[in-house]
Amino acid sequence: MKDCKRTTRNLVAFLYGELDEKEKRYVETHLKTCPECKDELHRLEEVYEIADSLKPDMKKALVSVDWDKLPERIVGEVFDDRSIQERRPDRAGLWPLLFQPRFRLGYAGLLLGIIVGAVVTFLIFRSPPLQVAESGKIIVPLGFYDKMELEMARRETIDYLDRSEYLLLDFVQSTPEKSARFWQSDFVSQRTKELLSKKRYIDPQLEKIKLAKAKLICDQIELLFFELIQTSEDLSAVELKKIQRLIQERQLLLKIKLVRKELQKSEV
């Protein structure tokens, strides 16, 4: 059994005369005593013979070729034909190959493609202009309302900060005698109420991330105004002086200025 395996593995090489003497003798000896391996060899020999039957065709083909002219044609094409010369990247390098005149049309097409692609990309990604529909309604692009809202909020907040600053400045600069009556005066009371109602109006807009810093300072101002308008009547001049000093120490006016400046820069 072991001998059969070894012989079978070597039968093709045996058939084609590729075994060394020792292995050849081994196979020959085994074949004399093993009819199964001998049958296998016969089957392989049949294949060998059928394969051999194709050889006359090759001989016919060989005879039909003009072997004197073929090398001349090949040599002519290799050395004389321009198109073949151009197929020599190893010698001439790739650059001359790339800049052949016949590629001009291709390169022109490529350039045109790049330009068209750039224009199309620009048209797709730029903000589309406002369009008027047939019905007369204005069609606005997606996100336009969000931008508008943000811009309105920014302007309202700047206005709120402006007016709050003036009011607080007046308060801080007022004398102790005047400061007691400051918040009770009709003018200031009216202005403060306006500012408090304005604050309620801009509150939802201040929730936007871009205005977070402004919201913080506006909330502080609102709280301060609210407290002052409610309690100033009961506060003594000393206490009001303390509040004035606190506003100065906390640099509330400076913070208002900085936030306002930042908002002015960040126009949507």
């Binding site: 084609y16 089957r43 392989l44 294949v47 059928i50 194709l54 090949i74």
Partner: protein, 193 residues
């Protein structure tokens, strides 16, 4: 004999060296010397004269392009046949592989038809046709090794060098190729007599 072979080898290598420097005559001599070898390999692979002639032409063209890559100490014939083998495989993939799938169904039907209706055909030519188609069913490597061994009478050692694989692999692939052909041919061998 050995000395004579070595001298021939040296002469051929010196011709190949001259081709590197653009020598037309040297290229012509080498083309004359090896055109039939390349043709035999290509013809036995494709079984078609026109394809084989295309392969010969393309092989020598590539030889001229890659002449600078030939190392003097190597066997020129094996190096050239390595190019021819690559050209054959490229050519087959480019021109024949697309049709192979299409022909597969037809082949089986035709092969069955041929094997039963032998009264109108020359049995030996039918068997050759079937055998050619069976060869096409082998893998690229098995087919190339079978062709190199059977029709080009190359030694396993030479085939190993041309295909750049181990000697044992050549032996094993050749064994598989013949065994596969025997299996593929077995339904027809008994009937065709």
């Amino acid at each position: 004999m050995q000395i004579q072979n070595t001298r021939q080898q040296d002469e051929i290598n010196s011709l190949a060296e001259r081709v590197k420097s653009g020598d037309r005559e040297a290229f012509m001599v080498l083309t004359r010397l090896y055109q039939k070898k390349v043709f035999q390999l290509a013809y036995s692979y494709f079984r078609n004269k026109e394809d084989a002639l295309d392969i010969v032409q393309e092989t020598f063209l590539r030889f001229h392009q890659k002449a600078h890559m030939f190392e003097g100490g190597k066997n020129f014939q094996n190096w050239l046949l390595q190019i021819a083998k690559n050209v054959c495989i490229d050519y087959y993939r480019k021109h024949h592989k697309k049709n192979k799938e299409l022909r597969r169904v037809e082949n089986i039907e035709e092969m069955n038809h041929v094997s039963y209706d032998s009264s109108h055909h020359d049995p030996s030519s039918d068997l050759k046709e079937i055998f050619s188609r069976c060869m096409e069913k082998l893998s690229d490597k098995q087919r190339m090794i079978f062709v190199m061994k059977h029709y080009n009478h190359l030694q396993y050692k030479e085939i190993a060098e041309i295909l750049n694989i181990a000697l044992g692999t050549v032996k094993s692939l050749h064994f598989k190729a013949v065994r596969n052909l025997r299996t593929l041919m077995s339904p027809y061998m008994g009937r065709m007599g």
